[in-house]
């Protein structure tokens, strides 16, 4: 069992599998740091819009910001429920940028016993494209990594 776990989860099916796995391997009095990454592609979401005025663009950014914030809050609420059911301490960390870099950044701030992340979704499964599990991440992390299998992955 592990005392201090870094769990990277953002609410997808693969990430929920990682949550379950983290809860399973966490010691009774252990602590889980829950990392949520807001991928960098959101910054480019106004793309090459040039026709709108500043008011419209600002309104869009504020709207997107609040919608993403709402998603994160709901996700944290769900995790809190799971953690309190198991009597575990949980801290939420929100970072923006490339997912692999965010995990590396957070893993470098403290000593973790284990990093738990989900598997990429199977081919053909719909979802946003922002890979966390990369070769670079695995090769650079100095902590043990547990990759939870995707629920729909054939064994």
């Amino acid at each position: 069992m592990f005392q201090h776990i870094l769990l990277a989860s953002h609410g997808t099916e693969g990430a929920i599998a990682a949550e379950t796995m983290a809860l399973r391997v966490c010691a009774a009095n252990g602590r889980i740091d829950h990392l949520i990454v807001v991928p960098e592609f959101w910054q480019g979401m106004t793309g090459d819009d040039w026709l709108n005025n500043g008011i419209t663009r600002d309104r869009f950014r504020d709207y997107l910001d609040s919608a993403l914030r709402q998603d994160i809050e709901q996700h944290c609420k769900r995790i809190n429920q799971k953690m309190s059911d198991r009597g575990l301490a949980c801290r939420h960390v929100v970072l923006s940028g490339k997912p692999e870099q965010a995990v590396l950044r957070q893993a470098g701030t403290q000593t973790y016993d284990l990093v738990v992340i989900g598997s990429p979704r199977p081919d053909g499964k719909l979802g946003l494209r922002s890979a966390m599990l990369t070769k670079k991440l695995i090769c650079t992390l100095k902590t043990a990594v547990l990759i939870a299998p995707h629920p729909e992955q054939n064994t």
Binding site: M45, T46, D48, D49, L51, N52, R59, L68, L126, R129
Partner: protein, 527 residues
Amino acid sequence: MIYTQKNPALFIIGLFMLAIWYSADSGLMGPVLEHLASGKSYKYYDELGTLPLYFGLFSVVTGLWHWLGRHREGHLDYYSSTIAGGMLILFITMLVRWFIAPEIEVISISLGEVGNTGKYAHDLFGLNYVVLGIVAGIVIVNVFRVPSWAGNGVRLSRLGLKTGVILLGALYSAAELKNLGGLSVLMIGFFVLGSVGIVLWIGSRRNISHSMGGVLSAGMGVCGVSATVAVAPVVQAKPVEIAYTIGTILLWGVGCMFLFPIIGHLLDMSYVQFGAWAGTGILNSAQVAGAALAFQPDGIETLMVAEIFNITRVLILPVVVLWLAVWYVRKEGADAAQVNVGRVVITKFPVFVIGFILMFALSTTGIFAPASHYQGKYFGNTAELGFNTENLLKTGQIELLKAEAHKVERTDHRDALNRLIENGKIMSIDEGNTILSMIKTAYLSDEANKILNTAHKAVYHTAKKIEVFREWITWLFAFGLVGLGMQITVSSMKQAGGEPAIIGGIVGFIKAALSLIVVILFIGDTV
């Protein structure tokens, strides 16, 4: 917060620009320019002698101030922070327009014509400075990232496009604007409202959420990313729906920008036909301007047509936002008070269109140039109107025309030829048109036709002011498009997927194909 960064980048950009100017001015760059001209005269020589000097000096001076000066929080700091990024875009545009695009042309010509198309690869695939500039922008943002000192300036590039559209207003004649406006209202009205309706209908058949249907219909129907940005908060689209939609539109837009000019050249479309097709069929408004300039890089006739369509689209945007807002409220049963018609119209109204109309109104007063100067070239057969007396027909040329005069059958042709022989130059616009018609009929020898052609060219001139306007507009659009390229990230394009990819693919293809058919069948070379 202080936005201006203490960084030598702008100073260095300025030094590079000055180095270009010095190398061109002193002749050091002669062999390079000769190579790039591939046997002809290098067409950007005038620009090389001025632009890098002026902007180089400006960048060196402001660059020193940015690097070594003291900056305080405030408006001046905010606006000055945009200079470095703006000059970076301008520098990239210069490199692409003056060196990279001509080099691609040299390579393309050396490879020979593509199959039996009769065209070289750079012509066929539209590999000119506009397309290459946008590609350079996309490569920079995705491979190297936009440096932090350039961020504010890169965002400023929109201003280049808006200013370009405003200046463009000065180049239309009232008849052109009326005819193009009427045509664009018909085509945009049909295709935009049709696409919005079709997306909503397909959406309901495929059971997608109303928020997704709303945001997707605006994006696919009106003006791509801009419409999505305007409509997303109104229909309360979820982030994932926004990501799918914008990713799909960007991917389509960039694809169309490359594909449309190729198809246009293969079908030998006229400027009007291509401008109308690009203005209707391309989902994203930024790529409409890109495709128009890619199709005709050395002129702005196509751009003038396409931009009228773009303006019509953006004027329709508030209407579509209102429509979707009311539709969403009805479907979701949300609070109807959310839809404030006045607020939507005011906040979504494109202010730059007022600038365009003002410039058009000013030009009709003759403040910039006489009305006749706007029609591409104007007629002038006196020294005051720009005729060069050295262009009078020489004795040998007159003798040759006299010797072949008996071959001319039509009376009007014969009269026009006799008047030309008599005066040594074309005396009126009508006679000029008759001479052109004679050249096309080709009953004289090649040499005699060449003389007629020279005589015709000698009495048609491009007004200096209009030429300068056109140059400025081309630069502003090129600047704006390179900057917009620097805001297209592959990571956002990669989000294309889900229902938007399917529905967008269907609607985008139908719109492009149908508008092509309509343009080919009903639109001619002029309006």
